[in-house]
Amino acid sequence: MHDDHDHSHLDDMDARVRALETLLVAKGYVDPDALDRIVETYEKEIGPRNGAHVVAKAWSDRDYRDWLMQDATAAIHSLGYSGRQAEHMVAVENTPDLHNMVVCTLCSCYPWGVLGLPPSWYKSAPYRSRVVQDPKGVLSEFGVTLPEATKVKVWDSTAEIRYLVIPMRPDGTEEMDEAALADIVTRDSMIGTGLPITPGTA
């Protein structure tokens, strides 16, 4: 019923975007090599492994966890992560009683510096419209069911503060070192739409 001709539109988009790039380069407003570098940075260097490192360290090191909860910007910067869309960080910690979820209802604010670029669904109308009212309904679409009694706090990123969810460390991970722990921390678990991988189920 949508009457979209999305494929032809997407072909149009390739042509239109190429035209703009050609123009901006010709006019000297952008350096084409800089465009390549920007894309490479988010393809290769900045992604959710950054955040997973932060979470794994918080799980492994109580002092680091305390610092993170008190001054996330500094604690995260100490691991070498910062910059664009991670200038001002706040960490929010899940507990058995409380689950945190992050959204930007007004646009697509997301902690690039620790999670990379957001997935499409994070920027889309369905997620942005629903999670502030019905987070448990949203979780069920991600296959996540919380205990009935667990409360959900939603964080709507309306300013330049970026929120990182610190998920609960799963049972059965007592023997894992920081590197192994980082491997079970999923991107979605740091947004609040998922949980870490439970050892033995992945």
Partner: protein, 217 residues
């Protein structure tokens, strides 16, 4: 602006359908649109609030159908034209017809890493003190401006509690016009029932709100 971007609590937008194997970009035009948005932002010709204002000013019927990177692309086109960097015909064809305008800064490839790592902190020095402290009850302003604001309509005219004092930050309602302005920024927690009545599965919703949005509750 109570525009198409103000989505919190709206219905009718369908399922979320997350794709666990989604690529970072779905097509080359997406990555190039991202890169041009970042690079043009780095020129210093406009700030992030002006970019957001341009994106949400797309016609509502377009905004809610477009892939997000297309929203960004359309906004860059609009800002390039509005700032007199090129005309619509040049943007459509890619062929320059008019002389270039001087720009404050050109982002060169070898500066990308340092620029991205530096980011653009939004906190500003002030001699003022914040009016509210953690634990204070506040009431958000009743408003519905056609201009850019970051108080979503669903949280307008509602009672909440200050849970953090973030600092003195760039104020988007002013910054989006190209002017300079900063205000104290707070995290305000709302009981979900104060936003949605019984129609919610949330316990609370927290928003970062600037002092002009708030009065003592």
């Amino acid at each position: 602006m109570n525009g198409p971007q103000d989505l919190g609590g709206r219905h009718g937008h369908g399922p979320i359908s997350p794709d666990p194997n989604e690529p970072l970009f779905h097509a080359p035009w997406e990555s190039r649109s991202l890169a041009m948005t970042v690079a043009m932002g780095a020129t210093g010709l406009w700030n992030i609030d002006q970019s957001r204002a341009a994106r949400e000013s797309l016609p509502a019927r377009d905004y809610i159908r477009f892939p997000y990177y297309r929203i960004w692309f359309e906004a860059v086109c609009r800002m390039v034209e509005e700032h007199g960097l090129a005309n619509a015909d040049e943007v459509a064809t890619g062929e320059p017809q008019t002389p270039s305008k001087p720009i404050p800064r050109l982002l060169k490839a070898d500066a990308v890493k340092s620029v991205l790592m530096a980011g653009t902190p939004a906190d500003r020095v002030t001699e003022t003190e914040p009016t509210f402290k953690v634990g204070d009850r506040v009431l958000t302003r009743v408003q519905n401006p056609k201009s850019h604001t970051r108080l979503p309509h669903y949280a307008s005219g509602r009672p909440g509690t200050i849970t953090m004092v973030h600092g003195h930050h760039v104020y988007p309602d002013v910054s989006s016009t190209g002017a300079k302005g900063a205000e104290w920024l707070y995290c305000v927690e709302f009981e979900a029932s104060d936003l949605w009545g019984a129609d919610t599965t949330a316990s609370s919703v927290s928003l970062d709100l600037w002092e002009p949005y708030l009065e003592r509750g």
